[in-house]
């Protein structure tokens, strides 16, 4: 059986001083509550055949458990304990800071793609909290306070701010009873303050350069895109697939196969609660030409704006999206995840069932019109990672031993 508990809180709900707190909180949810002390959550779960994970994004924090169906009562007890009475032990908090810092070093400081992406995001948004990196800025990682955590827990970890999904070998009526008797006893809280800030329209291209010790340059380009529940979300998804999915995609063909200026092109178009970025990530070979690569990418996007896409391309993108939809539903875990996704971002789990129909509705005209709307160079941020040969001067020297 798979359980997914979706909380509507992420780095989007943060502000200077507490950046990274949502993700840190995700870690703290495994570090002890009233009945099950530090380490017990994992220990008890694993001793009963279960395992777990969690992830945090700009918009949500999601907790996932996988376990034999017979362990459901115990899993609900574990979940209830941490959601009802999480503990905040100062010693555990200090130790977990180190864990998160190590995670940051791997994902950002010692990974050039991650380092550039963080700067891109911080540049593309000047007002909206999507500018905040999920992992948090280093100085905030060092200084989150106990009160911040407690406040966060009370505000966001309330049942009215979450959606619980279970999938697998279960009897729905019985499960509703079991959940009602456990998680159902936790009181609601006042709704969290909404995120009111809207990103103002960008008035011209922004450009950044990050210098790192490296062999290979990187190019990232991000346009202001759509929110998850935008009526054009599927159109954008299919457009993204046409541009970057597989060796037959336009950008792979142009940049990797024909001009050979890049070794890999990827893209993402998915949105969150608020309008999000549509990304292109281009990895260059050692000594690669950033200016030339950027110009080729730009002209490929201009071509789709001018001429649209072919019937074959649209059909392909539909097939890719549809096959991917079926593959995600092959596992209990995938079903729990996709149902939670639909419930959270579309407001109704049933929206998942209409997915194939929504792909059918996408038209070539729609794709062309949307491309023109999104691929406006005044609405983009361009980032170059420029390799240097000498190590940067002691970048993270501030992170003292603790």
């Amino acid at each position: 059986m798979a359980l997914a508990n979706w909380f509507r809180v992420g780095s989007r709900n943060e502000r200077p001083g507490i950046t990274g707190l949502s993700h840190f909180f995700e870690h703290m949810m495994f570090n002890g509550a009233k009945k099950y002390g530090p380490g017990e959550f994992d220990r008890v779960m694993e001793a009963n055949g279960g395992s777990n994970n969690a992830f945090t994004s700009e918009d949500v924090t999601v907790y996932l458990d996988w376990f034999p169906a017979s362990a459901l009562p115990l899993i609900l007890d574990l979940e209830q304990d941490r959601l009802q009475s999480l503990a905040f032990d100062p010693k555990v908090i200090e130790s977990e800071r180190g864990v998160v810092y190590s995670e940051r070093r791997s994902g950002v400081d010692n990974d050039n793609g991650g380092a550039l992406q963080e700067q891109m995001q911080a540049t593309a948004f000047v007002a909206h909290p999507y500018q905040i990196p999920v992992i948090g800025w280093p100085s905030d990682i060092e200084s989150w306070r106990m009160e911040d955590l407690q406040q966060y827990f009370k505000t966001y970890y309330a049942p009215n701010n979450a959606t619980l999904v279970l999938a697998g070998d279960l009897d729905p009526a019985r499960v509703f009873e079991q959940v009602e008797a456990t998680l159902g006893t936790i009181p609601s809280q006042p709704a969290p303050e909404p995120v009111r800030t809207k990103e103002p329209e960008q008035q011209g291209e922004r450009r950044i350069v990050v210098k790192k010790l490296a062999q290979s340059p990187l190019l990232q380009v991000a346009y202001h895109g759509l929110a998850a529940n935008d009526p054009d979300a599927e159109t954008l998804e299919l457009l993204g697939l046409i541009l970057t999915h597989g060796d037959s995609s336009r950008l792979h063909r142009k940049l990797v196969d024909e001009a050979r200026v890049a070794i890999r092109v990827r893209g993402t178009t998915a949105g969150g609660f608020d309008p999000s970025l549509t990304w292109f990530y281009v990895d260059l070979p050692p000594g690669g030409d950033l200016a030339k690569t950027e110009a080729l990418l730009t002209s490929e996007l201009a071509r789709v704006v001018k001429d649209g896409v072919s019937d074959a391309e649209l059909k392909k993108a539909r097939n890719v999206a549809l096959a991917s939809f079926w593959r995600k539903l092959e596992t209990n875990s995938g079903r729990a995840r996709e149902l939670g996704n639909a419930a959270t971002f579309r407001g109704d789990w049933k929206a998942l069932l209409d997915t194939p129909a929504r792909y059918e509705k996408v038209t070539r005209d729609g794709v062309k019109a949307l491309a023109a709307r999104i691929f406006n160079n005044d609405h983009r941020t361009v980032g170059w990672l420029v390799p240097t040969t000498a190590p940067a001067a002691a970048p993270a020297s501030k992170e003292a031993a603790r």
């Binding site: 055949g49 995670e103 990827r266 971002f345």
Partner: protein, 507 residues
């Protein structure tokens, strides 16, 4: 909601990325488990390991009924009908992988495998990609150490196309000269680019190269920046003639189809394929090395040290493999493992610490891996060594054994949930000469394991503290003194064009 990849950065599970890359780079390994890294708290003497609360579900997994056909030319077909979703998946395993690479031509088998999808039959590379992507198909080439693996997933309405594409790749690859040149250059750049990324992706390659300096298991399966440029089209043609052939193929297909009809279709598509011209070379045995050896790989800008510590472990077919995996679960195979508890949960030194067994036809490696900020390198390695030494000596208590059994049993079914997972498992079993008992008997073997039994196996499988290979990737300037504590140090740079230190025999 997105199709390919979107932002939710799976933070707690960043290690998943590592599994992906190292599956390509290190192991011909079967399915990496879909579940993330994992682990467990408390030392071997932990008093507080809770006993399972509910009666354990020890049902286990039974492999579905399989239609098994061997064609006259030696092709082995394994077919399973699975009708819940309109999908069909295949897993084609070809014996003879990177171990057949000639010295100095590391990456030849992998490059040849990559070219199978760059033009075959009536389609050139672009047309082939159009055909796969056009129907929403997926195709993956995994260049393993002892075999090449092609995995695919299609919608069942496209089964006929899938058979055509697969048989074209196997029987009628074009090995176009320009595609070869492009793929080779791309591979070199990808390796260089990986060195700018998260070192977790590469540490296994360095470890194997240093630990098996004179054995084919030491070669980088994907090749190196030094070896790839020397690979010519003649090398590829020669390798393909010698190694691609009907007698080398095990093909499993699982999904929404009629097994009889599909068997007939596959027989007509693959029945005329010739055998490989060369007998399959045998891989020399491997054994644990004696003494301690340290490789320090200099990444001058690193703020964190990535380390791997281990020795030679066991074969895939080792009779004690289930018990060994159970023992490894406690050491470093789940979130509450001894290693993760010590290095992450208790001390906050790292985001993750784990151990794993890579088992091949011959014994592969057993390795502990983690990473920590440069200044705490010595402390983290010492802790990892303490855990290993103590565990090897003392084993685990009853509660820990019960917990590990429950965990391993509970997490087993999701590893065989999808058609793709099943197809890979069927081929993998056939590849190693194992039968359904490997899966069907798994739960029984786990349940039957005793404390003493596990301890005995672990003393054989886990390396003795005096016999260890160490690889450290980090800022060498700050690490030389630390590294020296663990044994004689060999040093190289991450920018070196090979994965083995210059002194070692060329690879």
């Amino acid at each position: 909601m997105s199709a390919p990849m979107m932002s939710p950065r799976s933070l707690r599970s960043a290690l998943a990325a590592l599994l992906f890359t190292s599956a390509c780079a290190t192991a011909p390994a079967p399915t990496p488990s879909p579940t993330p890294p994992p682990a467990e708290p408390q030392a071997a003497s932990a008093p507080a390991t809770p006993a399972p609360a509910a009666p354990l579900s020890t049902k286990g997994v039974t492999l579905p009924e399989t239609t098994s056909v061997t064609l006259k030319n030696g092709v082995r077909l394994l077919l399973v009908e699975k009708h819940e979703l309109p999908l069909v998946s295949f897993s084609a395993w070809l014996r003879g992988g990177a171990v057949t690479d000639p010295a100095g031509k590391e990456g030849l088998a992998a490059l040849t495998a990559e070219l199978l999808q760059k033009g075959a039959g009536s389609r050139n590379a672009q047309q082939f990609a159009d055909a796969v992507d056009g129907v929403g198909g997926e195709l993956e080439v995994v260049p393993g150490r002892e075999g090449l693996v092609l995995n695919g997933s299609f919608q069942s309405r496209d089964t006929a196309l899938m058979v055509e594409l697969l048989s074209d790749m196997l029987v009628r690859p074009r090995f176009d000269a320009q595609e070869l040149e492009k793929a080779r250059a791309l591979r070199v750049s990808e390796i260089a680019s990986a060195k700018d990324g998260d070192p977790r992706a590469l540490i296994g390659v360095y470890f194997n190269a240093f630990h098996f300096p004179a054995h084919p298991y030491g070669g980088s399966a994907v090749g190196s920046e030094a070896s790839l440029p020397g690979i010519s089209r003649n090398d590829v043609l020669g390798w393909a003639k010698a190694n691609l052939g009907a007698d080398r193929l095990i093909l499993s297909v699982v999904g929404d189809f009629d097994a009889k009809l599909l068997a007939a279709k596959l027989e007509s598509a693959l029945g005329g394929w010739a055998k490989a011209s060369q007998p399959l070379p045998t891989v020399p045995a491997t054994a644990p090395t004696k003494g301690r050896h340290v490789l320090l790989v200099d990444k001058p800008d690193a703020t964190q040290t990535y380390f791997a510590i281990g020795n030679t472990g066991i074969r895939r077919t080792d009779p004690d493999r289930v018990v060994a995996e159970l023992g490894n679960t406690v050491l470093g195979g789940r979130f509450t493992s001894l290693l993760n508890t010590e290095l992450r949960v208790k001390t906050g030194l790292t985001y993750g610490a784990r151990s794993s067994l890579q088992s091949h036809l011959q014994p592969g490696t057993v390795v502990l891996t983690s990473y920590t900020q440069t200044a705490s390198t010595g402390r983290a390695i010492d802790l990892a060594l303490d855990v290993l030494t103590r565990y090897r000596q003392e084993g685990m208590d009853d509660a820990m054994l019960a917990s590990a059994k429950a965990y391993v049993l509970g997490q087993f079914p999701p590893t065989l949930e999808t058609g793709e997972q099943l197809a890979m498992k069927l081929s993998e079993l056939a590849f190693y000469g194992l039968d359904a008992r490997d899966v069907n008997g798994f739960a029984g073997d786990v349940s039957a394991a005793s404390r003493d039994g596990v301890r005995t196996v672990l003393q054989r499988v886990l390396p003795a503290p005096e016999d260890l290979t160490f690889v450290l990737i980090g800022k060498a300037e700050a690490l030389r003194d630390v590294a020296r504590k663990y044994g004689p140090v060999t040093e190289m740079k991450i920018s070196d064009k090979r994965f083995a230190p210059p002194a070692a025999p060329g690879r």
